[in-house]
């Protein structure tokens, strides 16, 4: 996206100062002297302990086990504590990465966790789901010199888990109460971030969540084996302890409109309703029994716990030969779930090649280890039914890569005459999500872009309605948790500014 790249060419001067202040601390200077750069560069990157693939692909326990304390310290030692930390530039919310990493090296793990929380309200989550390999770790100085970056994501997870596990969760001082009411619509990553920021600034915050559990994609999209729900619950509980009110089973636009909330005294609004509109390919047979949108498949399994049917009442098809169409994180999650639910053949059908797959590197690696089949340069053209209207096979077409398209990736071009039939008993369509239109349809005056996303001023997250801000997937289409959080932070600052002059 062009807009974000514009925003992050340079570290903001105030951030530069803060980073320098940390850099200049006595203990940081001493620590740099204690181990010379050449020594640091010799330490091999610590491996994240993982459960065995053939064992973990049968259950929903978390795959990554977390660095040990010793490994965390060693990994932190690899960080060169650059005077001009490029990693911070790579982070969508500009976490003081050397700041927290060096605290880990020092052995002050909880302090590292707190340092993270100064910028990132959901560090235990980001440490697990951020595509670090395209963000902080891609631009890491150590990577430039040795080819292998500091494992920043693993360290973030370590510090955040430590702080949470210590039972001594730090409750910051809140600003004096402003008495002003803020409505956060959508309890996903963007909304949770805004809520946290606004309550710390003394405002009265209510999160309005349509589902019965907050979290958005964090609860219905990302599976337990990548992000344990207990972590999410801890984060939401933390917000409630700060004073945020969470109202679930509340669909703004249906249960109440934005105007209704205004009449109830809410003065600033954040719309973080997400990209909850599934994209289908619009090919024949897409409405057959057994063809799911990824949203439905994931919601049944992750939110409604269909993997524990019939203890939980919501069923999901237990496929033996599953085809998941797509190459992003949602596709990876879907296909790995299918495998865990008993699929003998769990297949990814992707129209480009491995190199173009947008999924997080670690997820692709884990999927390969778990026995997922990858069929690249392939697209389905139609689904074939049995006599009961259930999918029993799909017809596919081979592709080859042509010229790059608007996203910069090479465009797939069909290979004539390459059609073939493949037996499947379930299909999950994971080709992307678009912004959910429900709130937009019931809020006149809210300007919307060509793809159904809410139009915002990218510097302020302000929408066309005064006092109404938006962020996350609703403005971007399906993107990442960290970008949603970044939007939330920007919006919160602007909303605070907006509220100041109001009575």
């Amino acid at each position: 996206m062009a807009e974000e790249k514009e925003q992050k060419k340079e570290l903001a001067p105030e951030l530069k100062e803060r980073l320098k202040a940390g850099f200049d601390l006595e203990w940081r200077k001493e620590m740099r002297r204690a181990i010379p750069v050449k020594e640091r560069m010799k330490i091999p990157r610590r491996k994240m302990p993982e459960r065995e693939p053939e064992e973990r692909n049968r259950d929903f326990e978390e795959v990554n086990l977390g660095l040990s304390r010793e490994d965390a310290v060693l990994e932190a030692q690899r960080c060169l504590d650059c005077a001009n930390p490029q990693c911070v530039l790579g982070c969508p919310v500009a976490i003081d990465i050397p700041g927290f990493v060096k605290l880990i090296e020092k052995g002050e793990f909880e302090a590292g966790g707190r340092k993270l929380k100064e910028t990132n309200s959901l560090p235990a989550i980001c440490g697990r789901v951020c595509p670090q390999e395209t963000q902080c770790e891609e631009i890491c100085t150590l990577k430039k010199s040795t080819g292998v970056s500091v494992a920043i994501g693993n360290l973030e997870r370590f510090a955040a888990d430590f702080e949470r596990g210590s039972g001594d969760v730090f409750i910051p001082d809140l600003s004096p109460s402003t008495g002003k009411k803020v409505a956060v619509i959508g309890g996903g990553p963007a909304g949770l971030t805004v809520a946290g920021e606004m309550v710390k600034r003394g405002h009265r915050v209510t999160i309005f969540e349509a589902l019965h559990i907050s979290g958005g994609v964090l609860v219905y999209g990302i599976p337990e084996f990548r992000l344990p729900k207990a972590i999410l619950k801890a984060e939401v509980d933390y917000l409630c302890r700060l004073g945020v009110e969470v109202r679930t089973n509340f669909v703004v636009g249906k249960t109440a409109t934005l105007d209704d909330l205004k009449a109830q005294g809410y003065q600033a609004f954040f719309v973080g309703v997400g990209a909850g509109l599934p994209n289908f390919m619009k090919i024949p047979g897409e409405n057959l029994i057994g063809v799911y949108s990824a949203n439905e498949y994931l919601t049944r399994v992750n939110l409604m716990k269909a993997y524990d049917f019939p203890n939980y009442d919501t069923p999901v098809i237990l496929s033996k030969r599953a085809a998941v169409i797509g190459g992003g994180n949602v596709a990876m999650d879907s296909v790995r779930i299918a495998r865990r639910l008993g699929a003998e053949r769990a297949m990814i059908i992707y129209r480009r090649s491995r190199h173009e797959m947008p999924a997080r590197e670690e997820e692709v690696k884990h999927a390969e280890e778990e026995g997922i089949e990858f069929h690249f340069l392939t697209v389905p053209t139609r689904y074939i039914a049995d006599d009961k209207g259930r999918v029993k096979a799909m017809e596919c077409l081979r592709m080859e890569l042509g010229e790059p398209d608007a996203s910069g990736r090479r465009r797939p071009v069909p290979v004539a005459g390459s059609e073939f039939i493949s037996e499947v008993d379930m299909v999950v369509c994971a080709i992307g999500q678009s912004p959910n239109p429900l709130l937009i349809q019931t809020t006149p005056g809210l300007k919307v872009g060509k793809w159904g996303n809410i139009d915002v001023d990218w510097k302020t997250m302000a929408t066309s309605l005064p006092g109404v801000y938006a962020g996350g997937d609703i403005i971007r289409g399906g993107a990442t948790v960290i970008l949603a959080m970044g939007d939330g932070r920007v919006a919160a600052e602007e909303m605070d500014r907006f509220l100041k002059p109001l009575p």
Partner: protein, 277 residues
């Protein structure tokens, strides 16, 4: 969370459930539905809103026991709380003065058609109501519907009633009598709505049905409730639930509603073991 105020069995296997839901109660419009979850392990299921009282802050639904979720609902007592009661969802029914409207409701659809008939009557329509039941002892809310209709008819495959006839034939003969009828609204099981739409098609009378596909979230997020209407894919939860009955791909809807036939049986067996040890 919503608190149960009352639950009554209206007729065998059909229950009326009234809950405290003040926010939903002030927003309800005819034709809309709610999504409920009977307990923490339950499914999210849609039920058409049967009635509401904004002053008392109450909303009521009527359901038929067909599986685990509805059986769980049928055991609720006053004071019980259910973890999910969200709404009002869906687009409200179109209410205006059409002239003469035939409101057809069968089984649980009798309750669902009530708020629509009432609103149409209030909008100045001549409301001709037709209720369908399998047998005479399954008829309920006759007086409630009579109170909002200009005339009330019952069709049932039961000699207790004047014509032992299934709803489509009764509907055809009504259309013969009510030459001015410009709209038919039919709510009930999929088969009833399909048969009603088929019956009115040759006469070219606009027929609105309230489609009942399987749902999960109810806010347009998952696509479970997708139906094909006029050759296009629509989501019943946000584009409906009302659709033009003559444009619906009924075969597809019948098939999709059977997606979990075997699982439903497994679930009931497992639940019965818990409830009747």
């Amino acid at each position: 969370m919503a608190k149960v105020l009352q639950r009554q069995r209206l007729v065998p296997n059909i229950h009326w459930l009234e809950l405290q839901a003040p926010e939903v109660a002030v927003k309800c419009q005819p034709g809309q539905f709610v999504i409920l979850m009977p307990d923490e392990r339950g499914e999210r299921i849609p039920l058409t809103i049967a009635d509401w009282d904004p002053q008392r802050g109450t909303v009521s639904v009527v359901f038929m026991c067909v599986g685990t979720s509805t059986h769980k609902l049928s055991l609720l007592k006053p004071g019980d709380e259910i973890p999910v009661f969200v709404g009002p969802l869906g687009r409200p029914s179109e209410i205006k003065n059409f002239g003469t409207v035939i409101c057809a409701g069968g089984c649980f659809g009798i309750a669902a058609i009530h708020p629509i008939a009432r609103a149409l009557k209030a909008a100045g329509n001549r409301v001709v109501t037709l209720l369908d039941v399998k047998a005479n002892y399954l008829l309920y809310w006759e007086d409630k519907l009579r109170a909002v209709s200009d005339s009330l008819h019952v069709s049932a495959r039961d000699e207790f009633f004047e014509t032992g006839d299934y709803i489509p034939r009764k509907l055809e003969s009504l259309l013969e009598q009510e030459k001015d009828a410009s709209l038919v609204v039919a709510i009930g099981c999929t088969y009833l709505m399909y048969r009603c739409a088929e019956a009115t098609k040759p006469k070219g009378v606009r027929t609105t049905v309230s489609l009942n596909p399987i749902m999960v979230d109810g806010t347009g997020m998952c696509g479970a409730c997708r139906v094909t209407v006029g050759g296009q894919t629509k989501f019943a939860c946000v584009d409906g639930p009302d659709f033009d009955g003559h444009q619906v791909d009924w075969d597809e809807l019948f098939a999709r509603r059977k997606s979990y036939g075997e699982e439903e049986i497994r679930s009931m067996c497992a639940w019965e073991k818990d409830v009747y040890p």
